[in-house]
Subunit: 137 residues, 6 copies
C-alpha cells in the first residue's frame, strides 16, 4: 500500500528537481521509506507546490524560519537551493542580518558559519575537490 | 547624552512610518527610553533601512521568523504592517502554511489566530468600533 | 478544486471525532479553508491515522512535544482529548513532571496552569456554567 | 509517603520567603501536591539553596534564561523577586537589553511589557488598588 | 558532604541500569561531581523512578520532548535506551513522524539522522567494529 | 561607506579585547564585512559597552541566555571569556546547574560538554598542544 498520493509525490519531486534538491533526504528513504514519501509528497508536493506565493518567496521564508530556529541540521541545503534558483549571496546575507535581529545574535553566527561552509563546498566542487563527500545538510 | 545616532533614528522612524508602525513601541519609551531609541535607530534604522533586500522581502522574512518562533507577543503588528505595504491576505496565509511545516502545526494554529484577530481589528476600525482599544502587538 | 484527498479528510475527521476534537480548528476554516483541510486531512488523517502506534501513545507523545515547546496556544485541547480517550488526570500530571525535567521548570508551571484551566472548564460544564464560552484551545 | 526530603523542603521554603515568593505556585499544590513539593524542595531547596553563587547572581541568570526563552508564563514573578532582593529597575532594564541581543528583539518587547505590568501592579498596590487580583505569574 | 539523598541516588542508578544507561553522564562526574549526583538522584531517581506512568511511557514522552526541542546533544542515548527496554524501531519511527508534525519538518530530519546513527552504531558493535568509540550521546 | 559608527566600533573592539575575544568573528569578516562591523559596533560597542551593569553581570546573563537557548554554536567562546574576566570554574558550573532547571536537563548536558571542551582546550594550550587548531566557538 502506498500511503501518499502519487500525484503529490510527482509534483513534489518536480519541485525538488527545480531547486536542485533531488538527491537529498535519501537517509530517510534508507531508514523509513514512509518518511521519505511524506517529505516528498506532503512537504514538497502539497506545500512547496502550492500556488499563491512564488518559489523565491517560499525559499526566502523557509530560510528565515530555519535561521530563526537555529537547529543543528536541515539548513545548509537551503542556502544551496536558494542560490540554485537565483537568490544572490548578497540577498542571503541580508536575510541572515534581518532574521538575526528577531532571533538573536548567535543565530547570525550559526547562519554565517553554515552559509560560509556551503560557499566553500561549492568552490571545492568547482575545482574538482571533495566531490565524494556527502553534501552538507 | 544620546546613545544612538540621530541619523539612524531618523532613518528608522521613516521606515516605521512607511510601514504604519510609528505609534508602536511606546511602552518601551515609557519604561526605558534607551530601549525605544535602540529599537528605532538600530532595528528599524540600521537593519530594516539597509539596502540589498526590498521592504517586502524584509517583511516576509520577519513574518516568517516570528511565526516560527511562536512567541506570545510581537507578531500581531507585523500582519498589520505587511498588509500596509501591500502584501495580500492570501500571501500571508501562504507564508503561515509554508512556515508551519518547518516549525510545527501549533505555529499554524497560533499564526492563524493572531492574523484573524488583526483582520477583525481592521474590520472593527472600518465600522468605527473599538477605536479606543490599544492596537494588537 | 479540492487540494486534499477526500479519503485522508474522512479518515482525519473520524480520528478527530474519536478524540472529541471535531468542533476545533473552525477559525482556520473561517480564515483560510485550505488550512483547515490540510489540518484535517494531513495532520489527523495522514499522521494521527497511521498504524504502528496506538492512539493513546500518539496522544502522549503529542502532549509531551507541546508541553516541551511551551507555546502560548494549541495545548489546552490536548489535555481535553487525552482525557476523552481515557488517559487519567494522574497520568497527565506525570507526563507534565517528566517532560518538565527535559524542558525546564517554567514548562511545568505553564502546563499545570493550562491543565488546571481545562479541568475547571469541565467542572463548569458539568454544572451547566459557562457553556457558551469558546473552548480553551 | 512524602517523596521529597523535609530538609530540602524547609530550605526551599526559606529561600522563597527571602525572595518574597512564598505565596506562589499554590495552583500546583491544588492540582498536584507532588509538583508543588518538587518545586519547593528540588528547585528552591536543592538548586537556589546551593552555595557557590550569590542569590543576586542566581536571580540575574534566572531572569536572563527566562527572558531568552520568551515563555508566556513564569517570568513576571522573577521581576518582582529581583526587586525584592535589591536588584534595581535600571539593572533589570539592562538585563533585558543585554539578553534581547542574544535572543531576538521580540524578547525585548515581551520582557519590557511584562516588567512594565509588574511595575504597574506594584504602583497599584501602593495606592491600595487591585489588592484582590491574583499576582502576575 | 553529600548533597543528594543516597536513597534517591540508588533508585536512580537502578533505573539507569534497567535502561542500559549506567555508563552515561560520566563527563558530568569528571567536571562537576554535584551535577552527576543531581542527574542520577533527581532526574533518574526522583522523576524517572516515580510511580504513575510506566517506564515505556516515560521513555516515549522523553523521546518526544527531546525530538521536539531539536537540541544538538542529549537525544542519541534515548533511542538506544528506548530499544533496550523493548520499544521497536518501527514505533520509534512513528514517534518521530508524529512529533515532527508538531515541531517542524527539520526535527524529522535531525531525528531520522540521529536514530540512523544509533542503529549504525549498534550494527557496528555486533560486528565487533568501533567498540572503542565513545557512545553517541 | 562605513555603515557603523567608528566610535561604537572602537568601543566595541576595546570591550572585546578586555574579554579576550578580539580574534573571534573573523569568519563574519570574510563572508560579509557588514556583519562583522555590526557585531563589533552594535553588539559589543552599543550593548556590552553600556553602563548600568558590570561586565561580570553582562557575562553571567549572556552565558545564561546562551545555555538556555542550547544552540549548536556560539557558546564555547563565552566560557572562555567568562574565565578571562575572572569568573571561576565553580561559578560557571553553578550557572549551568541553575539555568538547566529553567531550560531542561539536556541543556545541562550540552553546557557541561561544551565547558569541558573549553577547559580541555586550555589545558592543551598550556602544554603547547593543538595550538594551531581554531578556537572553539
Amino acid at each position: 500500500m502506498s500511503k501518499v498520493s502519487q500525484k503529490s509525490f510527482k509534483r513534489g519531486y518536480a519541485v525538488m528537481k527545480k531547486m536542485g534538491r533531488e538527491t537529498l533526504m535519501l537517509d530517510q528513504k534508507a531508514n523509513c521509506p514512509d518518511m521519505y514519501d511524506m517529505s516528498v509528497a506532503h512537504l514538497f508536493g502539497d506545500v512547496w507546490g502550492r500556488p499563491g506565493l512564488s518559489l523565491r518567496d517560499r525559499q526566502l521564508v523557509t530560510l528565515a524560519a530555519n535561521i530563526a530556529l537555529c537547529r543543528p541540521r536541515g539548513n545548509y541545503s537551503h542556502y544551496r537551493s536558494a542560490m540554485h534558483i537565483g537568490i544572490t549571496k548578497k540577498e542571503i546575507n541580508e536575510v541572515i542580518i534581518q532574521v538575526a535581529h528577531y532571533a538573536g545574535w548567535p543565530t547570525l553566527s550559526l547562519a554565517n558559519h553554515q552559509f560560509s561552509e556551503v560557499l566553500k563546498e561549492q568552490r571545492d566542487h568547482k575545482r574538482g575537490k571533495n566531490l565524494d563527500r556527502p553534501l552538507l545538510v
